[in-house]
Amino acid sequence: MQWEIVIGLEIHAQLTTASKIFSGSATTFGAEPNTQASLVDLGMPGTLPVLNAQAVRNAVKFGLAIDAEIGMTNVFARKNYFYPDLPKGYQTSQMDHPIVGKGYLDITLEDGTVKRVGVTRAHLEEDAGKSLHEDFHGMSGIDLNRAGTPLLEIVSEPDMRSAKEAVAYAKTIHSLVRYLGICDGNMAEGSLRCDCNVSVRPKGQTEFGTRCEIKNVNSFRFIEKAINTEVQRQIELIEDGGKVVQETRLYDPNKDETRSMRSKEEANDYRYFPCPDLLPVVLEPSFIEEVRGELPELPQQKRERFESQFGLSTYDASVLSASRELADYFEQVQQTCGDAKLAANWVMGELSSLLNKEGLEIEQSPVSAAQLGGMILRIKDNTISGKIAKMVFEALAAGEGDSADEIIEAKGLKQVTDSGAIEAMLDEVLAANAAQVEQYRASDEAKRGKMFGFFVGQAMKASKGKANPQQVNDLLRKKLEG
């Protein structure tokens, strides 16, 4: 049977604020346990929450960026359940009236096609603490530093049809929140966490199959693997005559499998109700306009501009606009050298593979945008050839000089364009290969084509790559034919 995969994601983005959503505790990552847990965060009797304005602003920014309805009156509710990392016995979240309503995101797939994914809602809530499972005499340790960190939970429609689409969506969200400056996107530190709702149905069926929720998948690679593993499990289960049970599952990357989370298995009855300690949040239209004015150019707008302004392909434009830092780098290279296509080729080619190999982010690139742009200028004015440029680039990366010009000068890589000099060099090459020259002259057109390459190779070798290749070609042809 042909199966269709249906995926919806719930992404929790930690909002970048100095203090927590309902208290004045710091949100810094990695502090000593419980040193950033205040009276409010600990749920001390008699304490009360007061909402952080920056969390609200960040959420609205996101809403505007996905063209969503903004909840002009949004309401906090309590989600009640007992867990040691949840100090008050309830999580303050939003239920019926979230701050961000329906919106959408356009994602670019690997083949360059663009797909629109619906965002059902995004709501503000507080994060929980952490349970540490190291053994304290058979006990667990609870660190509440993270409790109360502001989260934006972004819920998608079940619009994705493959693990790759899910990853593309997650990457798009990741890129967007970083563009907006509302989340640092650091997945290793849990700043962006993903729950995947996965189900399968026979192709052509309209109603959804029973879904499972895979909790807390914390890298793009694991999102893809976890979904594929879970899809496989569900299909095998159904094909063996079984039934998928709606449940929460955990992905184990070591075993590459998902397993049921028994602790969450009990029939959950969260008893949501409006939080009586917080009043409805009412947003003024003037505030919305103020936030709209603060929005930076967004990835999609940037991509479209790269296409129209620079004539880049959709794929190139979307790769280069995926992160604000990469896009800024590219634009700086482009401005320095005045050639968008060459700039794009070098950023996506040599530079990307260098960064990949070294495991570096674009901000840490050993070759600055000014250096790369300066080097491309030398390609354009024929000072160096593309081949020599690769050598210059490597030298820049190795820190052998401050600029391409300096390296070209120091290493004597300047291209030879003096036709007299080239002719002299060619004469030497032809004299040294007199037998081949005779052979060439005796051959027909087809054979000559192949042999011509041999002479070019010899000539470039003799010039140590510095002779202008076009001139070498032209002059060589003239001499051989002559």
């Binding site: 000593e32 419980n34 040193t35 909402l51 058979g138 667990s140 660190d143 602790s263 009412v282």
Partner: protein, 95 residues
């Protein structure tokens, strides 16, 4: 609305309150009595009425995003039942 034993056991579990076998009949009877009192609400038609969560119907004030709290772990953990290495200890959490 009168409750039965299963209802009471379920509620007690949701509320994380241990109920002994001996407590169940009396608890069931008393809770049923309270629900009977509460059920008098059902006599009035409220279909056209909007719920009221806060008496004054004012709106939420927002706090400036500033760190105002400093580390008070020692003071706060002085009243905790069990701590070690700055952590609150609980029976093993199984996920």
């Amino acid at each position: 609305m009168s409750l039965d034993r299963t209802d009471v056991e379920k509620i007690a579990h949701l509320a994380r309150i241990a109920l002994s076998e001996d407590d169940i009949p009396a608890t069931t009877a008393k809770l049923s009595g309270i629900l009977e009192l509460i059920d008098k609400m059902q006599a009035v038609d409220t279909s056209a009425v909007a719920p009221l969560a806060h008496p004054l119907e004012t709106t939420q004030r927002l706090r400036a995003d500033e760190v105002t709290e400093s580390n008070q772990r020692e003071a706060y953990q002085a009243i905790a039942p069990a701590t070690e290495a700055g952590l609150y200890l609980v029976p093993k959490v199984i996920e």
